[in-house]
């Protein structure tokens, strides 16, 4: 026997995630991978390709599109999926998009409810998916810290945090009733820093707006709201900034940063004094807003 039989923490996490992805593929009839175009999705897709190599991923990617994503995200999504030969499903809540649903009009919670949660649940029903693989991490948010790897949702997509199945060893219980579905979270044990280190180690492509650049923003309550050139609000200014996580344009703030390379981002994240979702308006509305949204079916 030669060499060391110790795995680095990234290789441990990779192996665990691949095992979970293969369990999902083996135990469910019709799984789907929820692809949100962000860095976690990029890592998730890489892991899924690894899990079934040299075969193809045995499930499609699905992007639940609110219509409010950054133009760079749409461009990246389409070229990325074409390049890796993935089957991409795009689902939108056209009814509410048509009504012009907007966080500043309907309120952040109602807007998310229609365009994200509602669209996701409709899509799961429409395609008959029995498992949806998501890139959520337990470290992200305190209610997510209590999430299982295989998380059962009832026929209305709702999460019941007080009634979760115990989950032991690496034995995941895939059994559900008709109409129920499972959200599977292969990245449960990854942190933001792990994600960035893995992206660097593996050379995984990500949306360019994670890197710092001069951008037109409006400062509001310490959050930098990106502005569309030509439609900028009064008081908008140019600022060197980047996005730490990606969501919808009206609700995703940038952070001041000069980190223009992966090494710089990793150094910044490792020394970060604020949590990753600090710029996500959706989590800031109340003390348990994420838990509430998850109970309603948000993933």
């Amino acid at each position: 026997m030669t060499g060391s039989y110790n795995l680095s923490h990234l290789k441990h996490l990779e192996s665990e995630s691949i095992h979970i992805l293969r369990e999902v593929a083996a135990e469910f009839r019709n799984p789907v991978l929820l692809y949100s175009v962000g860095k976690d999705s990029s890592v998730l897709v890489r892991l899924a390709r690894k899990a079934f190599h040299p075969g193809a991923m045995p499930f499609p990617l699905m992007h639940v599109d609110t219509g409010y994503k950054f133009p760079e995200m749409y461009a990246f999504r389409d070229s990325f999926c074409r390049e890796i030969g993935a089957r991409l499903i795009v689902e939108r809540n056209e009814t509410w998009i048509g009504k012009g649903c907007h966080p500043l009009v309907e309120g952040v919670e109602a807007c998310c409810g229609h365009l994200k949660t509602g669209a996701l649940l409709d899509a799961i029903r429409k395609h008959g998916f029995d498992a949806a693989i998501g890139g959520a991490r337990r470290e992200e948010e305190k209610s997510r810290a209590k999430e299982r790897v295989f998380s059962v949702r009832d026929a209305h997509g709702q999460w019941d945090p007080k009634n979760q199945r115990p989950e032991l060893w690496d034995l995941y219980n895939p059994r559900i009733r008709e109409g129920e579905s499972v959200r599977a979270f292969p990245l449960s044990n990854w942190t933001e820093l792990d994600i960035w280190q893995y992206i660097r180690a593996e050379g995984i492509p990500i949306v360019p707006i994670y890197f710092a650049q001069e951008r037109l923003v409006l400062r509001r309550n310490g959050v930098l709201i990106p502005q569309m050139p030509g439609a900028a609000a009064e008081g908008a200014e140019m600022c060197l900034c980047r996005f730490r996580s990606l969501g919808c344009m009206p609700c995703t703030g940038a952070v001041e940063s000069a980190a223009a390379t992966l090494d710089e981002i990793i150094a910044e994240v490792a020394g970060a004094r604020k949590s990753e979702r600090e710029n996500r308006i959706i989590d800031l509305t109340s003390d348990s807003s994420m838990e509430q949204k998850k109970k309603e079916g948000y993933f």
Binding site: K142, A145, E167, L171, A267
Partner: protein, 633 residues
């Protein structure tokens, strides 16, 4: 930044109010794993509640109900890292009603932290937790005596607790037990050495966690590879995916497939990043084999000279985790590695009183109970005792109706075979007052008188494939050689013993179960039993196999393309099936599951019956069940 960090999984347990959340909050705070915005949020909440210090426990109680009741309900996972190591903490609630969560957290832990309140000493809960950690074989256990500030940093208090817990732990199987005095609230001995406890000379909590030997039990000897799936992108590639449960493997090494027993060698270890010269636990890989042999999900690849135990009668410890108690009549689903089988808890041997460690007889098993039990599974499992191998020695039970995970199980080993010539019957023991008796004359005595061994030849295949023709010819050949034979034919049994059964899946299963039991009676009487049944369901055939002694069951796949069977159609059945006059007809309106690894493959479309019969006779000769001789024509 150094990416090559190691990973340590920790479980934390303690009674209510031992200050566990505060300790975890302190660890996160000291390792700068708490963010300003999170800290600000809990500072506000603490102030709102009129607390002077920032209540670090608020960081961990993620659910609204937990914050309202100021208790921890569910396991919460936390992450922090130091320059050399990443830590995953499963933070488990301490109250008794949530013990199942502790078992959950402990199942994957390398290290456990048991919190004891210095003022209260060793409570029932601390004992219970130690016992559970011992059952789950968590490699390292650290007892943290907390709230030393409120005990005046008195060494006598600390030493008293150490002594009491050590006395208790002597009766457990903890492999590595350490103690440490801290004050989580004020940070003493968490990250920085306390100058208020100079009498303590050991490491701080963070030092201890950072220097703990990871993977002390990494098992590199016993290669176990539960197959998760088959990767088959095209005709020229067939690989088996899985996560190595234990051991290591290299290309060129010989493997054996369970349950078929087929052997091959590893051709390559494939990954997205290229082939590997060697793979070891817990890597996820794809293995390709040198030979085209049947392998599917639920199979296990092992080394031919290092086999796990194989059996369907398990001796195990169960932790019951559901509100509904154990129902001895329910066939639960048992998930073990990548295999899910049905299982009946056939015997409740005893229940543990976790406070006294006494064993007590019990009629029921309820939420949070721990008990030693016996289980019968419908198909054999390939396992190791949990103590030797956590990955292949653990299982969960799932309720088939509620779908809930109702129990966690740790296998101790095979059950001792009950008195009698053979292992006990599987599944439903619905005749409560019957007893397995020692056979009057052992089979071996009958075999010695007959001059040949007993065996069961099980012919399976489509209607019209030639089972009956072959079975009858084989019986005549064996009879000529002086063998005791019995021929069991599907149609004959369906006209008598099984005339109450139809052709639904359930009825087919029951039909085969009865036929299997009859075959076993003749087998135990020393006969060579020839069975000709369509028997389309693989699991049904496997359960018959499990009734018969190892090496004595010959599955003969009578294989013939259905088009040929239709043209033969000896009884005009296909004609009626094709026009829908007969329903549930195998091959037409019901599935046939071909055996993945039959002992004999008989191709009746290709080979004449005489030749197949001669092959079968030779197979019995090779197995030394009948004496060698000139094969009958």
């Amino acid at each position: 930044m150094d990416v090559e960090k190691s990973l340590l999984r920790i479980v934390t347990t303690g009674s209510v109010d031992d200050g566990k959340s505060t300790l975890m909050g302190r660890l996160l705070f000291e390792t700068k794993s708490i963010f300003e915005d999170q800290f600000e949020a809990i500072r506000k909440t603490s102030a709102k509640r009129g607390q002077q210090d920032v209540d670090l426990s608020l960081l961990l109680d993620g659910l609204a109900a937990e914050r309202e009741q100021a208790i921890t309900i569910d396991v919460a996972y936390r992450y922090f890292e130091t320059p050399t190591r990443k830590f995953i903490i499963a933070d488990c609630p301490g109250h008794e009603q949530y013990t199942r969560n502790m078992v959950t957290g402990a199942s994957t832990a390398d290290c456990a932290i048991v919190l004891i309140d210095a003022r209260n000493g060793v409570l029932t809960q601390s004992r219970r937790h130690g016992f559970i950690l011992s059952l789950l074989q968590v490699p390292h256990v650290l007892v943290v005596v907390n709230k030393m500030d409120q005990a005046g940093f008195d060494p006598a208090v600390y030493r008293g607790i150490v002594k009491a817990y050590e006395a208790y732990a002597r009766r457990l199987e903890l492999r590595d037990l350490a103690f440490m005095p801290v004050s989580a609230l004020q940070g003493d001995n968490v990250a920085a050495r306390s100058d208020r406890m100079p009498w303590y000379e050991g490491p701080t909590l963070l030092q201890y966690l950072e220097t703990l030997h990871v993977n002390p039990e990494q098992n590199l000897i016993d290669f176990r590879f539960p197959v998760q799936g088959v990767i088959r992108p095209g005709q020229d590639f067939r690989g088996f995916s899985g996560r190595i449960a234990s051991g290591a493997i290299r290309p060129g090494e010989e493997i054996l497939v369970l349950p078929s027993g087929r052997r091959s060698t590893v051709k390559a270890i494939e990954t997205f990043d290229g082939d590997l010269p060697e793979a070891f636990a817990p890597q996820s890989v794809v293995l390709t084999l040198a030979d085209e042999i049947d392998v599917s999900r639920g199979c296990m690849l092992v080394r031919p000279r290092n086999l796990p135990l194989v059996g369907n009668h398990l001796d195990a410890v169960l932790c019951w985790m559901d509100d509904a108690p154990l129902d001895p009549g329910t066939q639960y689903l048992l998930k073990h590695t990548t295999q899910t089988v049905k299982a009946l808890v056939s015997k409740l041997v005893y229940r543990f009183d976790v406070n006294t460690l006494h064993r007590e007889s019990a009629a029921r098993l309820e939420l949070n109970d721990l008990a030693r039990v016996e289980l019968q599974t419908t198909l054999p499992l390939f396992f190791d005792p949990y103590k030797l191998n956590r990955a292949t020695g653990s299982f969960i039970l799932i309720d088939p109706v509620s779908n809930r995970t109702v129990a966690a199980g740790m296998i101790r080993g095979q059950c001792a075979p009950p008195p009698g010539p053979k292992e006990a019957p599987p599944a439903q023991a619905h005749s409560p007052n019957t007893f397995a008796r020692q056979a009057n004359l052992p089979r071996e005595a009958r075999e010695a008188r007959n001059g040949h061994g007993a065996a069961v030849l099980w012919f399976t295949g489509l209607s019209g494939a030639g089972k009956t023709t072959l079975g009858r010819a084989l019986e005549r050949a064996l009879h000529q050689r002086g063998c005791q034979t019995t021929l069991l034919d599907g149609d004959s049994l369906r006209q008598g013993l099984c005339r109450d059964l139809g052709f639904s899946r359930e009825d087919r299963t029951e039909n085969i179960r009865r036929c299997g039991e009859v075959a076993r009676l003749f087998f135990d009487s020393g006969h060579i039993v020839i069975c000709t049944f369509i028997s389309p369901i693989a699991k049904d055939r496997d359960s018959v196999r499990s009734l018969i002694a190892e090496g004595r069951f010959f599955e003969v796949h009578v294989d013939c393309p259905i088009e040929v069977c239709i043209t033969r159609d000896p009884n005009g059945l296909y004609g009626n099936a094709l026009t829908g006059k007969i329903r549930d007809f195998t091959g037409i309106s019901a599935d046939y599951e071909p055996p993945p690894a039959p002992e004999v493959l008989a191709r009746t479309d290709r080979d004449p019956p005489e030749r197949i019969v001669a092959d079968l006779v030779r197979a019995l000769e090779r197995a030394a069940l009948i004496p060698p001789g000139t094969p009958a024509p």
